[in-house]
């Protein structure tokens, strides 16, 4: 058979080569002899069948929330992460960041060996050498003060760590979550007695958020999103949502009404709503119409229970949070929508930024003999004004447990790379009284790393005669088993579920740290010079910078601005017009702390007196490394600056922020003013947005909640952009439009010359019995984009934005260049359309509609007849199939696709020997063996996860049964934290999708084109305020 480049690159079956599990796995996968070898196991593992997935329940450690995850492994490798349906926190959903943990696991720039910095050069050392070196250093550091900065996590590791530190006479560690809202936590503690009460959106009548971006990462976003979507999908009594703040975040875009107050004026509004201040004063201070505030205030009074949330970024965050708490208490929220009894314990034991800053001052003062950093990167996210590097350098022994070559690690002199959470044991306590278990889903990617940080610490302690007796365990796993209530047998029972009741011993150690030296001046709001408030916020995808080394997250467009692989400055269009700033103009943003340069993004949802910049980008290396070049890449060279995907992408907004904290000790994000100036440079933004407006084309349709309870009216039908008087054929506007082989493949369907072969309804193979279809509920969809990442993970979709993934000769090269050119490969994409305020005037509210757009699997697909080689066609079970190996790449199908959901392999993203290769070793370990990796020159698109259909059919055949309704679903539907996507067989009424498609909100996009799509959208539901006109398309 001729060799076909479609699938060169990672050979699906090469996975067989690494069946020899732990040993020689790396060596085996790279080589590809022309003949091909089949390498068997030495000893066959009991529980695995080659080619069949094994699933492990574990816990996500990508943020503090600690959702339950299921890791799908195939032949010894984790290939997909999904939410654990049994987990009480996330109920099976998982956000994009959680799913991207895989790319942390397989990150090509992961540190593989312990290293020591001697005289400015890094030298690899052995694990045992590292143990010896640290043990020796600890001996010298005893009594000189030791600081351990750890990424905040719940569970028993903090206790273990504090115990270890105490053994050396060090203070308890700093448990840092830079993105967490300390003010809200502190206010919760004071008001409800818990750090984070459970929030119930679905019980609320009115949700009012003061900058609390509960869909973006504020708090535990996945459970919040699940509940919020449930609330909004209620047909009767769904809560209205009002967002107060100077910038509409993703959460703000989901609000029915935006109160665009001036930055820093939230307190006045909150006080006014809480009855502690006058509406008039709030209106003056915030620049918001008093009538609007009055209307909201009376609405709060009338809607009980309310759910008011605070998450402002100003220095007065605690005050706002307390005022908001007062609104809740007055609004009957406690116990109804805010449930302290079901506390989320993920944030317990967290240290504040103020404490961290205090320790930095201790370092600067030379009071610290040894410093440890694990999982967090203060050198990146602490404002440059603090001069962290300078202070850190005064610590004689600096130890990093980071897996990645981040900025802080580069400042250290000893690095002992940690194991990834998917390779190691652990636990978390996300909800009071539950233990979320973390178990290795696979053997370590790099066997040179012999254990996690805890294992390392145990090994070090064993070197100390005084401590050795306390650490008799051989590994942290043993320690955990001992600590687990019920011990090993109970653990064995709990592990398959990933969750257990009880607690791993005492609560996290009380913060017995010395009080922070009072060297931090809390700046009053709005200091500095400049015309604009500088709003900064943690990126919902990259956080404060942690996600930047994962290409999935870099490539995932920001849910609000749709920009990826870049930083940007949001500026209101009215302001931009006044200053003559165009989209993509590079601006110098100057504060009293410095200047950064980033392109402008005119955005309706930012206050006209403010600009907004997200955090997360701007990773840099001290070493001034040359740009990454895959052809000349030396694997032994450490890619400082957080790896090839993060280094020198965008700018670091912390460079221009002052070091200020709020009264609760949390970092104050929005405190400074800035001036902007045009630099004259302009670039096309690496954005996936074409036009932000629908131009009346009815792609994202919406209706008012009040219409839902009324009988349907004729005018409820959207005006279609085509011929207005077009008479539709019967069958259209049906739940799932008729298929090519007839009305859902019914044997009674009329033969239109299509009842041939497998398409014959009476064919014994029965493929026409099924019509795979999908419903997408726009009332639920929040635009979070978790489905997009799920699709990337499931379908081996390449990321294309890295700056080297371009042509070789005379080619421009910058991050996101392929995105600028519209060459992104997202099989499912989140379109974000604005409605209303066409003029872009400030003060006029607008509505946002999110539409997940994917292949519609049309019954009459325009793409199919134009393909000259039958590479795309309509399968008897209703799929629009793309056959990669048949595709010659005419791209005609894409031209003819009204939905523009076909993506072309412009380069050999899937071919390992090309510089544009999207899965450099070991990222390719993640590739789904059931899905062909596409070579250059072929078209690809959403397949409705046909590999999952076939797998389920194979399983059903093996078990001699038929498919069970809702037995399986696509990756996007599985991941969706809003449960907006439902997928299944529309021809069988027992599948949920067949029922949902009958919803009166159902419509097809571009129905007038007679494409007979299999994707049914359910209209978004708006909740306009009584008396306030809702924005319409």
């Amino acid at each position: 058979m001729t060799q076909d480049t479609t699938t060169s690159g990672v050979k699906r079956r090469e996975f067989l080569k690494v069946l020899g599990a732990s040993s020689a796995a790396i060596a085996a996968v790279g080589c590809s002899e022309p003949t091909g070898k089949l390498i068997p196991y030495l000893v066959s593992p009991d529980e695995t069948v080659p080619g069949v997935s094994t699933y492990y329940a574990t816990t996500c450690r990508e943020c503090s929330a600690a959702c339950g995850m299921i890791a799908e492994t195939r032949d010894g490798r984790a290939i997909k992460l999904e939410g654990n349906p049994e987990h009480p926190l996330n109920h099976g959903a998982l956000c994009a960041r959680g799913q991207s943990a895989l790319q942390g696991l397989y990150n090509p720039d992961r540190l593989r060996v312990p290293m020591v910095n001697e005289g400015g050069t890094w030298k690899p050392i052995t694990w045992d050498d590292a143990v010896a070196r640290l043990a020796q250093a600890l001996g010298g550091a005893r009594g000189k003060g030791g600081v351990f900065i750890n990424q905040h996590e719940s569970g028993s590791f903090p206790r273990f760590l504090d115990g270890w530190l105490a053994g050396y006479g060090f203070e308890p560690h700093l448990s840092v979550d830079f993105e967490a809202d300390s003010a809200a936590i502190e206010a919760n503690r004071r008001t409800y007695g818990v750090a984070w009460p459970a929030l119930s959106f679905s019980d609320a009548k009115l949700i009012i958020s003061f900058g609390a971006d509960f869909l973006d990462g504020w708090g535990a976003s996945v459970p919040q999103q699940l509940d919020f979507a449930d609330a909004r999908a209620k047909l009767d009594g769904a809560p209205r949502f009002v967002y107060v703040g100077p910038r509409r975040s993703l959460t703000g875009l989901n609000a029915d009404e935006w109160i665009a107050c001036k930055p820093g004026s939230e307190l006045a509004i909150a006080n006014a709503f809480a009855g502690k201040g006058s509406i008039q004063q709030a209106a003056t201070e915030s620049g918001v119409d008093a009538a609007q505030l009055q209307r909201i205030a009376s609405e709060i009074g009338a809607s009980k229970p309310v759910l008011a949330l605070s998450g402002v970024g100003g220095a007065d965050a605690l005050e706002v949070a307390l005022a908001v708490a007062a609104i809740n208490q007055a609004g009957g929220a406690v116990g109804a929508t805010i449930k302290p009894a079901q506390a989320i314990t993920s944030f317990d034991g967290m240290t504040t930024t103020a404490e961290l800053l205090g320790q930095v001052e201790r370092m600067r003062a030379g009071q610290v003999g040894i410093a440890f950093v694990r999982g967090t990167d203060p050198a990146h996210y602490l404002p440059r004004a603090i001069k962290f590097a300078e202070a850190f350098a005064k610590v004689p022994v600096r130890v990093s447990f980071s897996s990645y070559p981040d900025e802080t690690t580069e400042l250290c002199n000893l690095v002992i790379p940690d194991l990834h959470a998917l390779e190691s044991w652990g636990d978390a306590a996300p909800i009071r009284g539950t233990i979320s278990l973390q178990q290795p889903a696979m053997d370590p990617v790099y066997p040179t790393i012999k254990g996690g940080t805890a294992d390392f610490l145990i090994a070090v302690a064993k070197k100390d005669a005084a401590l050795a007796s306390r650490y008799s365990v051989d590994s942290y796993r043993t320690w955990l088993i001992a600590a687990f209530p019920g011990g090993a047998p109970a653990l064995a029972t709990a592990l398959p579920h990933g969750i257990a009741n009880g607690s791993m011993g005492g609560a996290a150690a009380a913060a017995a740290r010395p009080a922070a030296p009072a060297t931090i001046t809390v700046q009053p709001k709005g200091t500095g010079e400049g015309d604009f408030f500088l709003i900064t916020y943690p990126s919902p995808l990259l956080g404060a910078g942690r996600g930047a080394n994962k290409p999935w997250l870099q490539e995932l467009p920001d849910p609000v601005t749709k920009i990826c692989w870049s930083s940007w400055v949001e500026i209101h269009p009215e302001t931009a017009e006044r200053l003559g700033i165009d989209r993509g103009d590079f601006l110098d943003v100057k504060t009293s702390n410095g200047t950064i340069r980033a392109p402008a993004f005119p955005y309706l949802g930012v206050h006209k007196d403010a600009i907004a910049i997200p955090s997360g980008q701007g990773h840099r290396s001290q070493a001034k490394l040359a740009p990454f070049e895959p052809k000349h890449h030396d694997a032994s060279q450490v890619q400082w600056g957080y790896g090839r995907y993060a280094r020198d992408v965008g700018v670091n907004v912390f460079d221009v922020l002052p070091a200020s904290t709020n009264a609760a000790g949390g970092f104050a994000w929005t405190v400074t003013k800035a001036s902007i100036s045009k630099t004259g440079d302009n670039r096309i933004l690496p954005s996936t947005e074409g036009s932000a407006r629908q131009h009346g084309r009815g792609i994202a349709q919406a209706m008012n909640a009040s219409d839902l309870t009324n009988p349907p009216r004729p005018e409820e039908k959207e005006v279609l952009p085509g011929d207005a008087s077009h008479e539709f054929l019967p069958g259209l506007r049906s739940p799932v439009a008729a298929d090519a082989q007839g009305e859902l493949g019914a044997p009674t369907a009329q033969d239109q010359g299509t009842h041939k072969g497998l398409y014959d309804p009476n064919d014994p193979r029965g493929m026409t019995r099924r019509r795979w279809a999908m419903t997408i509920d726009l009332a639920r969809c929040t635009g979070c984009s978790a489905c997009v990442t799920a699709c990337y993970a499931e379908n081996n979709i390449p990321t294309v934005g890295a700056y080297w993934q371009v042509a070789s000769i005379w080619a421009e090269s910058r991050p996101g260049l392929n995105i600028e050119r519209g060459r992104e490969m997202n099989w499912i994409r989140l379109e974000r359309y604005f409605e209303g305020n066409l003029d872009g005037k400030f003060g006029v509210d607008f509505e946002t509609r999110f539409v997940p757009m994917l292949c519609q699997h049309c019954g009459n697909a325009p793409c199919e007849p134009v393909c000259p080689v039958y590479a795309t066609y309509h399968s008897p079970d209703g799929l629009n199939v793309q056959v990669y190996n048949r595709c010659v790449g005419t791209r005609y199908c894409s031209n003819n696709c009204p939905y523009k959901v076909r993506y072309f392999n412009w380069f050999g993203y899937g071919e390992a020997d090309r510089k544009q290769y999207a899965f450099p070793e070991p990222l390719n370990w993640q590739l789904n063996p059931d899905v062909t990796v596409r070579g250059k020159g072929v078209m690809e698109k959403c397949s409705f996860c046909v590999q999952r259909i076939r797998e389920a059919e194979n399983r059903a055949a093996l078990e001699h049964r038929d498919l069970v309704p809702n037995e399986f679903t696509t990756a996007c539907a599985q991941a969706c934290p809003s449960r907006a996507i439902t997928w299944g067989d529309a021809a069988d009424p027992n599948w949920t999708v067949a029922q949902l498609a009958h919803d009166r909100r159902a419509y097809h996009v571009f129905e007038e084109l007679n494409t007979y799509t299999a994707v049914v959208y359910l209209k978004k539901v708006n909740h306009p305020a009584a008396g306030a006109p809702a924005p319409r398309a």
């Binding site: 058979m1 060799q3 089949l38 030495l42 080619g51 497998l758 014994p764 493929m767 056959v883 076939r950």
Partner: protein
């Protein structure tokens, strides 16, 4: 009298009024070209057919299957439940061969003899000798791949085995192969022909060595179990889906 007038490029020249010319066979060249095109179109239909590489250990399927009557699924244990048929782990080999050593005693009618191949196996498995387990330095055996479908073809062994397709249908009479070779062309037309025209359980069973009068006992023992006799009785050929997305996705 009337000579050709002179021109710039052609001088007039006396030409004999009769010249004998040979015209060559342009049509022949044309036919040659067409032939070459057709040849190249059909070449590559199965370049790997009959390929029979030398394996690191000359594993005799004849002995294991034909003589000892071992079931294919004993070693290829995932074939009926996975896309991949599975290769026997080295420990599977050693499971039997720590009793059946390289110095084989006189058994049946044969004399005692030495098997160099089992020696090789012991070397791979780092086995000290008879009865000993696998050593610490055991290495997997680097078998050379014979049957290889392109990466874009997803071939589920499980569906075929469970539909009663005998291994021999596609792999040829492995039980008679001293050295395994690629029996079928494995090209797409070969796959599709069977899917469209149907699989004959009778022919499959004959290939599997149940040629002589399949009895209900042999049929029940055959892969596919009880389904086979029915199909056999009705003489029906089992047809399968030939939709592209069954294999290509």
């Amino acid at each position: 009298m009337n000579k050709f007038t002179n021109s710039r490029s052609f001088d007039s020249h006396p030409i004999a009024m009769t010249k004998r010319r040979q015209w060559t066979a342009i049509p022949g060249l044309l036919a040659l070209a067409i032939g070459a095109v057709m040849l190249s179109a059909y070449s590559g239909a199965s370049s790997s057919q009959h390929g029979s590489p030398v394996q690191p250990i000359a594993f005799p399927h004849t002995v294991h299957v034909q003589k000892l009557g071992m079931n294919c699924l004993y070693c290829h244990n995932a074939a009926n439940k996975s896309m991949d048929p599975g290769l026997p782990a080295v420990s599977t080999c050693i499971g039997c061969h720590n009793m059946i050593g390289p110095q084989r005693p006189a058994s049946d009618l044969g004399p005692a003899r030495t098997s160099a191949e089992i020696q090789k196996l012991y070397k791979f498995a780092d086995v000290a000798g008879m009865g000993a387990g696998m050593g610490a330095n055991a290495k997997p055996i680097p078998w050379v791949r014979i049957h290889k479908l392109p990466e874009y073809v997803h071939f589920p062994h499980t569906r075929h085995i469970n539909a009663g397709v005998t291994c021999q249908t596609c792999h040829g009479q492995i039980q008679k192969m001293d050295r395994v070779y690629q029996y079928a062309t494995l090209n797409m037309g070969w796959c599709v022909s069977c899917h469209v025209n149907g699989y004959s359980p009778k022919e499959g069973l004959e290939a599997a060595g149940y040629a002589d009068q399949p009895t209900s006992a042999t049929l029940a023992a055959a892969p596919g179990g009880s389904a086979a006799p029915v199909a056999l009785a009705t003489g029906e050929r089992k047809k399968a889906r030939y939709d592209c997305a069954n294999c290509h996705y």
